[in-house]
Subunit: 352 residues, 2 copies
């Protein structure tokens, strides 16, 4: 492996100079601008939630790509709790990853067609004549009705209040361009903006200059891929794009020993507010908040290293994904963050 | 690139000797066996439809993987038309790819929560008291009712008749083990079994012996991946697993010049019945059937090379994906195949 200083690493600046923006970028920006202005006018806090994995296309006409594991559960679930806490949410997610509200009815685990009924019951293809002359009613299975009403009522209320704005990305390139643009738009809110970066972003990418135009042909032995490092985007985000924003990043590891050291390194390197660390296999019931220690957030469980380590755990059995979860850890994650964000906002006015 | 005969290519035999089966394989096989027996008892033809892309994990504790582009539209749509044509369907699909019937209500393009209404209308979070004392009704938006009734009626009738069996895979390894097992089970049907291999299967994989245990760490320069070729599975399928099955494979290319030559090569190499070729950008309204010429399928458009080339096209505007499609090319693909399959079955009895 080449050393860290190899030629293959891009700075954020050189990245945006050499890679192309997604075609809909200008349109996306103008929609975000309108949304942010409306929230600013009513003094509402706004959180950007990023969610789902990014792809790295290997071909210009894309057939194959490298992907990161993520169904988008963390982001979609957290977005609901942020809305409940009174935040406006920009939900920026990978196309086809889970979304707030509809996440409760995944086509695989809880398909909605299974709890709709035809009344009177008809177990056959419906003729055109029947459909026109006396169409039967569609009803919801009684056992599902209360849960669906709860989800649907909240969904309709969020739609009516206009407090959620959804954006989609597919590739890591889409993601980087959108993140920069949205951060710059959100920076007008100063400390009232939070960034909850739960998307699983690739560390590597293939510069368009190195992609093959067509599908890579097999039948020629093994496949070799050599990728470049994605620029460390948190650095310009903190230093330039949104200096006052409250920025929360995530570290997902499979080796639990690495979580805290890597979180500390990230905080030192980028200077943002919180890293939420999680282990791939325990992420539904255990996370750790790592932050730099400071006078106004000091807690009894601080260690000596200048970092504050704060574990959040819920009962694993209540977070089971087989049945409907009784308790979701995202409720506590969002609760902890909204408390810290409040302190962060108040700290600014104290200093004035 | 190493030559085709490089050490990195696995035979199907050596593949199954060195790679591990998915944990649920035995259970999956026994369910398929029951399903096939039921269809055999009533003399129903069965088609295996494979659908969606496969992943190639780069790590044993999977965070990153290589993926193939496929939402699973072709497979999910075709499965509906096979059911309509009286076939029983084994729908073997990538987890979270589109499925028959629910595909009409993608969370992204036609989310079902958008056409459910609360009656009387309530645009607020519903209190627990309201939900228990006098829960409101849930109704379907009038403009969506007829379409939903049509889909729902067919879905219920398929469920009642037990003519669809669903299986899921994620990795290319899952796919290969399942395909072998299902082919062997289906072979008891002789010529009454069809194989419609629409899944986008990776040509490359990383043998478990070469995977890293934990998440590959970044911060060490560029990423190098070297993969081995997936064994050509059609060969043992035709020669050993299901000698009488009617096997249809797909070729997706981005360079249209390559489609027919590559289809012919595949037919010569593997000896199966049909290759359906399609161009990534025209696949919703144009496909080409390539097959070997034979006495009982000869057509006016045969060429001199011993291959029959048969184009299927529909009006591109009627296959638009923005609005609900008026006409789906899968209807014609399935129509053509069920005709050919019938001839294939009859040809066997003529020879007796």
């Amino acid at each position: 492996m080449p050393p860290e200083s190899s030629e293959s690493s891009f700075s954020a600046e050189s990245y945006f100079e050499t890679q192309l923006p997604p075609p809909s970028l200008q349109e996306d920006i103008s929609e975000v601008r309108d949304f942010v202005r409306k929230q600013k006018d009513v003094g509402r806090k706004v959180v950007l939630v990023t969610s789902g994995g990014t792809t790295v296309p290997l071909e210009l006409n894309v057939v194959r790509f490298l992907d990161n594991f993520s169904a988008g559960t963390r982001g979609a679930t957290s977005a609901e709790y942020f809305l409940k806490a009174g935040y406006a949410v920009i939900f920026m997610h990978r196309q086809f990853s889970l979304q707030p509200f509809s996440r409760h009815y995944s086509h695989s685990t809880n398909p909605f067609l299974d709890f709709l009924e035809i009344d009177p019951p008809i177990h056959q293809r419906l003729s055109a004549e029947m459909l026109i002359s006396s169409p039967p009613h569609i009803t919801v299975t009684p056992s599902e009705r209360v849960d669906l009403l709860r989800v649907l009522g909240t969904y309709k209320s969020v739609q009516k209040s206009g407090t959620m704005h959804t954006m989609t990305f597919v590739t890591v390139n889409d993601y980087l361009w959108l993140l920069r643009a949205v951060s710059q738009e959100l920076s007008v809110l100063g400390r009232n903006a939070m960034y909850y970066l739960a998307a699983a972003v690739s560390d590597f990418f293939l510069p368009r200059q190195k992609m093959s135009e067509h599908k890579i042909q097999s039948g020629k032995g093994s496949l070799h891929i050599e990728m470049d490092q994605v620029p460390k985007i948190l650095k310009p985000m903190v230093d330039e794009w949104t200096r006052e924003g409250y920025i929360v990043s995530f570290k997902l590891e499979t080796d639990p020993e690495l979580i805290i050291p890597k979180a500390c390194t990230a905080l030192e390197r980028y200077g943002h507010q919180v890293v939420i660390g999680n282990d791939l296999n325990h992420r539904k019931y255990e996370v750790v908040f790592v932050s730099r220690r400071s006078a106004f957030t000091k807690r009894p469980d601080d260690d000596d290293s200048g970092f504050q380590i704060h574990w959040l755990r819920i009962n694993p059995s209540s977070a089971s994904s087989n049945t409907r979860a009784v308790k979701e850890i995202e409720e506590d994650i969002v609760g902890e963050l909204t408390d810290r964000h409040k302190i962060w906002i108040e700290a600014a006015s104290v200093r004035l």
